[in-house]
């Protein structure tokens, strides 16, 4: 798909690439974190469901990396595996570990954190995809339509968990509230475009940060009403803004693990 590639102005193309890296890296990292839960979810049906969601999400990341490849940014697999932490544009929320420990040993991952992070993230992604359906870059608009259809099931899934756990036992409520606090601490850069804010907002590719935040809050109103709570405020992006390549140590270790095979043998069949 390269029609129109020649007519993109350098500023527009730069904004587009930056936005695509944000979308691709977000989905890539959060689905990696999701895949670490494999075999560890609370019950077998959940293992099937959440690994299926991670697989879909990895597919979405692959789509966004492919759009970058079509723009001449490099090979999709290389973009996913070989870029260093400081070149990544994902939100810090997407890179966070699932909890203490390593999945090959005896990890103590927190399911409450998984539910809250995935629900809040998926709702944010939904707001972005709804906006991208009107994007003036047609290949991105078409991808958003496709992603959106799968996202429907993801959102339904995490919303169900969210409402059930917050209406459950005292321990469940306590842990969910702790998880909400933890997730919101990292939520500042989810809707941030970082240093590219002006360029992206003027490009006509996607709605502005404030409009997306409003969309998220209004979509969250109903589920929060179901659990008799108020929708938390979205914090301002902190100094550590993933959109500008500022990340935690947790990203570096994730990249080391997930790219291990690819770095050893880029031609390996999976």
């Amino acid at each position: 798909m390269s029609s129109g590639e020649n007519v993109l102005s350098p500023e527009y193309k730069k904004a587009l690439e930056n936005l695509l890296f944000q979308l691709a890296d977000d989905d890539f990292l959060i689905s990696f974190r999701g895949s670490e839960w494999l075999g560890l979810a609370p019950h077998i049906e959940e293992d099937v469901a959440s690994s299926s969601i991670s697989q879909d999400t990895m597919g979405h990341a692959a789509m966004f990396y492919t759009l970058l490849e079509d723009l001449g940014a490099g090979k999709a697999d290389d973009l996913a595996h070989l870029r260093e932490a400081q070149d990544r544009r994902n939100s810090v929320l997407a890179e966070r570990v699932n909890g203490e420990g390593y999945y090959m040993e005896t990890p103590k991952y927190d399911w409450a954190y998984a539910v809250v992070r995935n629900f809040f993230y998926t709702q944010a992604k939904k707001v972005k995809m709804d906006s991208l359906r009107q994007s003036n870059y047609k290949p991105l608009a078409e991808t958003a339509v496709k992603v959106n259809m799968e996202l429907y099931y993801h959102l339904l899934h995490w919303k169900t968990w969210f409402i059930q756990l917050l209406n459950s036992t005292d321990e469940a409520k306590r842990r969910m509230n702790e998880a909400i606090e933890l997730v919101m601490k990292d939520f500042g850069d989810v809707f941030s475009y970082g240093d590219e804010k002006t360029a992206i907002e003027q490009s006509g590719l996607i709605a502005g940060e404030d409009q997306l935040k409003e969309g998220w809050k209004s979509n969250m109103a109903l589920p929060f009403e179901c659990v008799a709570m108020k929708v938390p405020d979205i914090p301002e992006a902190s100094a550590k803004n993933g959109r500008n390549g500022d990340h935690t140590e947790e990203l570096a270790s994730a990249l080391t693990t997930l790219s291990e095979v690819y770095r050893l043998d880029p031609a390996a069949a999976w």
Binding site: G59, V145, K146, V147, N148, M149, E150, Y152
Partner: protein, 166 residues
């Protein structure tokens, strides 16, 4: 008078009827609604497919099987297979024949309608009973859900409905 290209196109479609979903060998990719277009130029063929789910690992296998099936045709020169995302694949694209093939495999075809709350219902592909429960919206593959028939006591799967109105 049918042109040579038209003849080749027809042969290609016939060959594609033999390309099955790698995991559901009773349904062809044509009946799944994955074949968007067959372009013929001279004796070179370009086939445009629509992916069902973006993360589906079967896509590469389907692509390979498609190339192999069409390459076998003596009248065909070069074969190219590409995936596009527009129009998006939706479960309404599965044909009546596809629905039969799914049922024969023990998979309920995707329902045509959603309830107002976004939920959906299918009948048991084995006994036809409507007395079924949803066990897991997510199933062994991205495109399937797991259900249970309370009448004939069989677990079964259903093809997930996906639509652009979601």
């Amino acid at each position: 008078m049918v042109s040579l290209e038209e003849e080749i196109r027809q042969e290609v479609y016939d060959a594609l009827m033999g390309v099955k979903d790698p995991e559901i060998d009773t349904v062809s990719i044509i009946d799944l609604g994955m074949v968007e277009k067959v372009n013929v130029e001279g004796n070179n063929v370009n086939i445009v497919l629509l992916p069902t789910f973006l993360g589906c690992p079967a896509l590469e296998i389907i692509k390979k099987n498609t190339v192999n099936a069409v390459k076998r045709l003596p009248s065909v020169g070069e074969v190219e297979v590409e995936f596009v995302f527009h129009p998006p694949w939706t479960s309404e694209r599965i044909t009546e024949e596809g629905h039969k093939g799914l049922r024969a495999f023990g998979i309920a075809p995707p329902p045509q309608h959603f309830e107002v709350d976004g939920s959906w219902h299918v009948d048991c592909p084995y006994c036809g009973s409507t007395y079924v429960t949803m066990e897991n919206i997510f199933g062994p593959t991205a495109c399937r859900s797991i259900l249970y028939c309370k009448s004939c006591k069989n677990p079964f799967e259903a093809m997930k409905p996906v639509s652009t109105i979601m």
